[in-house]
């Protein structure tokens, strides 16, 4: 028994963790247990009983033969369960049989090999010594010497002018590459300006998404909701880009249910209101309308907007209400926009101002 009176003491560390390394605040007990060494090797059944050994060998080879059978089955499945044109159900069967056969072929090889290694390969524990990761003192000294020589022979340290001008050149040379990336996008120098406008303008008819048929005010019954695009979207040069900004939801509420703020009295038509469908959080389509509460829900991050209160945010990460599209009807009774939105639609961006006239 070592040091019975004082329990464990803190003693300096030996060098088993690599030379010259501090042990920090580690505590090494003077009377720690000693490593008992490897326990005696346990023989497996396959080591002791030749019959079991043979049986395992046969089992593994059987599994390998099974793999061959599966591989052939996979090829057979390719022909036996073909994809029939215009029949999606045939795809499912093709996928199933082809997949299971290939899976069987692969799994058999895997299971067989692992079983072979565990049951039949020699399993005596081997012990290998570790060495400190850092090189030996001689190696390290030689490495330093190599760098010194390189420095001396090149004059890298001595010829400061040469060295510094090279460093300068190396710093400058990637700069042109940065400019090359400018043409990732078209020439316009005002992306923020593009975000601020949509294709809605005075007189643009509100049309059904995706058919493009215009909507009469009389068709919008109480409690109904329409997914809306500008009627001339089909003719737009960049259809998807325009749609990504111009998509609108149209709803009809009882006029007395709407809390209309000053300046927006004429933006609805007899309780029919149009709001941007693009979430003011990160731009998902706010596609879910709860008829009873008149709440709009964004399915991506659950921002909720209250249509009765001009699409004000009542829950979720969005901050701004959905922009309202001022609408009215034309002479034929079709719903039309009075103008574009009075503020940018969609997610916030740095250049978005705070003083839009809404």
């Amino acid at each position: 028994m070592a040091n019975p009176g004082s329990g464990s003491d803190i003693v300096p560390v030996d060098s088993s963790h690599g030379p010259q390394a501090s042990a920090g605040t580690a505590v090494i007990a003077a009377d720690a247990f000693e490593n008992p060494g490897l326990p005696p090797h346990q023989q497996r059944v396959t080591d002791l009983d030749p019959k079991v050994d043979r049986r395992n060998e046969r089992g593994v080879s059987l599994i390998f033969y099974l793999s061959i059978v599966f591989s052939i089955a996979a090829i057979a499945a390719y022909f036996a369960v073909p994809i029939v044109e215009d029949d999606p159900a045939s795809v499912r069967l093709n996928n199933l049989f082809l997949g299971l056969a290939i899976a069987g072929a692969l799994l058999s090889i895997g299971v067989g090999t692992v079983h072979w290694s565990k049951a039949l390969m020699a399993n005596h524990e081997s012990v290998e010594a570790r060495h400190p990761t850092r090189g030996s003192e001689a190696t390290r000294a030689r490495a330093v010497e190599v760098f010194d020589l390189a420095d001396k022979e090149s004059g890298f340290g001595r010829r400061a002018l040469l060295r510094n001008s090279l460093i300068g050149a190396l710093v400058a040379v990637p700069l042109p590459a940065i400019f090359l990336f400018r043409d990732l996008a078209p020439k316009s120098n005002d992306p923020a300006g593009m975000l601020a406008h949509t294709m809605w303008k005075e007189g643009t008819r509100l049309a059904r998404d995706p058919y493009g048929t215009p909507i009469k005010a009389s068709e919008v019954t109480l409690g109904s909701v329409f997914h809306v695009i500008p009627e001339d979207l089909e003719e737009a040069e960049h259809k998807l880009e325009e749609k990504a900004k111009a998509a609108v939801l149209l709803m009809r509420l009882k006029p007395e249910d709407l809390n209309v703020s000053a300046g927006r009295e004429t933006w609805n038509y007899d309780g029919i209101v149009a709001y941007s469908k693009i979430c003011t959080h990160v731009g998902c389509p706010v596609a879910l309308y709860e008829q009873q509460t008149h709440h709009l829900l964004c399915p991506c991050h659950q921002s909720q907007f209250d249509i009765k209160n001009e699409a004000a945010v009542i829950f979720g990460p969005a901050k701004r209400p959905l922009p309202q599209l001022p609408i009215t009807v034309d002479s034929e009774g079709y719903l039309v926009a009075q103008s574009d939105f009075h503020e940018p639609v969609g997610p916030s961006y740095w250049e978005r101002r705070g003083d839009y006239d809404v």
Binding site: M1, A2, N3, G7, S16, H17, G18, A21, S22, A23, G24, T25, A26, V27, D31, F33, N35, P36, L38, Y78, I83, D86, V91, N94, N95, G99, L100, A103, L106, L107, G110, V114, W116, N123, S126, E128, R130, T133, L184, P191, P210, H227, L240, E241, I278, V282, C284, P285, A287, P299, C300, Q302, F315, P317, P347, S348, Y349, W350, R353, G354
Partner: protein, 546 residues
């Protein structure tokens, strides 16, 4: 014949030296060492199946009219990317299978990477000399998520398009440069006609090349350092005990490849993944309820959902600052950066510059383990939040309640998890001490001559005991003034952290302690009356903190 071939090759490559060096290299065995291997094999499977997919996929957003076999979408306008993905799924025999193998393997790839990282973290396998390999692995994890996201976006279907929409919104939320980055990335306004082609280049060229290079580097370091091993009889910090690459470990690794491959193919045969034909081509207007990203992006999506309303303001009426986007980005970044730097922080606290090749049992480093579990809970809260709407509908809760509970979990959960985990670790350590000092209950009741009944405790044998006592022990750092009588403020911080880590440590039992524990009993050989006194049972020898 074999001899002639090997000789031919060796005379042109000196490969015999490599075989001599590597062939009998010893690898220690433990099931948890397989996690990184699964990740490696997933990567191989992804490369093989991905190459097949490139033969058929067209990374173009040119509008085409779909004329393939899937009748419900026939005649619809969509991008060539979407149409070719549908062709792979419905008109190429086995195409759907390969697509599904590719996708399932990608999901498993990132899962196995993260489990592997957890294993390395909780066993302290990131300690010197493996800190840099931890950082390499960390970078691969980030790259793998990048691979996942770029690949997920390629079919240009409705769901992935909405994912890109969210990315676009995120980028636009970055102050000053966000609008321009989005503009350049998408080649104009969202969605543009460029993004799929650009993501494809990243997905099949840049990111895989980086990953292949880093996988190689990761393996080189694995060989240079040799694998860690768990403490056990005969195992020391200076050796490695296990089986040689040739034949046992090589066979197991090769077998594991086929098993991983086989399991993924079986999953791909039985379970559909990403059925884009149900979603349809991308259109900025429709979206369905219950949208979710692939699981590994869930934490980012969930973080966005957990922001309370109103976190956005406008500076001087001119610039919008989107804290509802920046806050989650910051919350995630802090977590990720903490993961990357943890090895360096812990080493700074312990001051231990020695090489460590013996893996820690998580209980023996209670504070680290508790920090790890706290981190998992933090990540987990964000991850679960990505399904907040589905949780609300499945469990008949209101959406608001789900979000509020998860917001609470995000903030308070890590602290609770930290506390509970640390207590569990300390309790387990105390149990280990009990076992070493007093043996285990044998279930044998003996009546002593005096009429007293006792249960006989059986001492551990030396091999079992060694597993329980071989671990590192640190004491809290004591700050000492330097020669000029000053105390470096940074050292004070370090001492504080060191106290936090180690002040309630439980030291391993020593031989002396065990001997003293036995001396105290007159019943000698049976180690009978083992009602441990508090002083013996817990805490070990007194370590006061001066």
């Amino acid at each position: 014949m074999t001899g002639a071939v090997s000789s031919y090759i060796d005379e042109r490559t000196s490969i015999s030296g490599f075989v001599k060096l590597m062939g009998r290299k010893v690898f220690p065995d433990h099931w948890s060492f397989m996690l990184g291997e699964v990740a490696l094999w997933c990567f191989v499977i992804i490369l093989v199946t991905g190459t097949f997919l490139t033969f058929f996929f067209q990374a173009s957003m040119a509008e085409v009219v779909y004329e393939g076999s899937y009748t419900p979408l026939k005649g619809l306008e969509m991008s060539a990317a979407m149409a070719s993905t549908l062709d792979i799924s419905f008109d190429v025999r086995g195409g759907l299978l390969v697509r599904q193998i590719h996708h399932w393997a990608a999901l498993l790839f990132i899962a196995s990477i993260m489990l592997h990282m957890a294993r390395v973290f909780f066993t302290g396998a990131f300690r010197k000399p493996r800190e840099l390999n931890w950082v390499i692995g960390f970078v691969m994890w980030i790259l793998a998520m990048g691979e996942g996201f770029t690949g997920y976006s390629l079919p240009d279907d409705l769901l992935s398009g909405n994912g890109l929409r969210i990315i676009d919104g995120l980028i636009k939320g970055i102050p000053v440069v966000g609008t321009w980055i989005s503009y350049l990335l998408f080649g104009g306004e969202f969605p543009g006609t460029q993004i799929i082609g650009r993501l494809y280049t990243l997905h099949i060229l840049l990111l895989p090349a980086l990953l292949v290079a880093l996988v190689g580097l990761h393996m080189v370091f694995l060989i240079v350092h040799k694998h860690t091993q768990f403490p056990g009889p005969g195992r020391t910090n200076d050796n490695v005990v296990g089986y040689p690459i040739l034949p046992v470990y090589g066979a197991k690794m090769g077998g594991t490849f086929f098993i991983v491959f086989g399991v993924i193919v079986a999953i791909a045969a039985l379970f559909a993944i990403n059925p884009i034909w149900n979603y349809g081509p991308y259109d900025p207007s429709p979206v369905s309820a219950g949208t979710q990203p692939d699981w590994y992006i869930g934490f980012a999506d969930g973080a966005l959902r957990l922001v309370p309303p109103g976190w956005e303001f406008v500076l001087f009426d001119t610039w919008t600052v989107s804290m509802n986007i920046l806050a989650p980005i910051i919350a995630i970044t802090i977590w990720i950066v903490a993961v990357m730097f943890y090895p360096f922080i812990e080493q700074w606290i312990t001051g231990d510059r020695r090489e460590h090749h013996l893996a820690d049992r998580p209980r023996n480093v209670p504070t680290r383990t508790a920090i790890g579990v706290a981190g998992i809970v933090y990540y987990g809260a964000m991850f679960v939040a990505a399904s907040s709407d589905l949780i609300a509908t499945h469990f008949k809760m209101s959406m608001e309640n789900v979000i509020h509970i998860l917001q609470f979990t995000l903030i308070a959960g890590p602290f609770i998890a930290y506390f509970i985990t640390k207590r569990i670790c300390l309790a387990l350590q105390k149990k280990d001490r009990e076992l070493v000092l007093h043996g285990y209950e044998s279930g044998r009741i003996v009546r002593l001559p005096g009429g007293e009944f006792i249960e006989v405790h059986q001492p551990l044998d030396e091999y079992e005991r060694w597993r329980l006592v071989d671990f590192n022990d640190y004491k809290p750092l004591m700050v000492r003034p330097n020669s000029r009588g000053q105390i470096n403020p940074l050292e004070r911080v370090r001492a504080g952290l060191s106290r936090w880590f180690f002040e309630d440590r439980i030291a391993p039992v020593t031989a002396g302690e065990l001997a003293r524990a036995h001396d105290g009993h007159d019943s000698g050989s049976t180690h009978a009356n083992e009602l441990a006194t508090a002083g013996q049972g817990v805490g070990g020898p007194p370590h006061t903190n001066p």
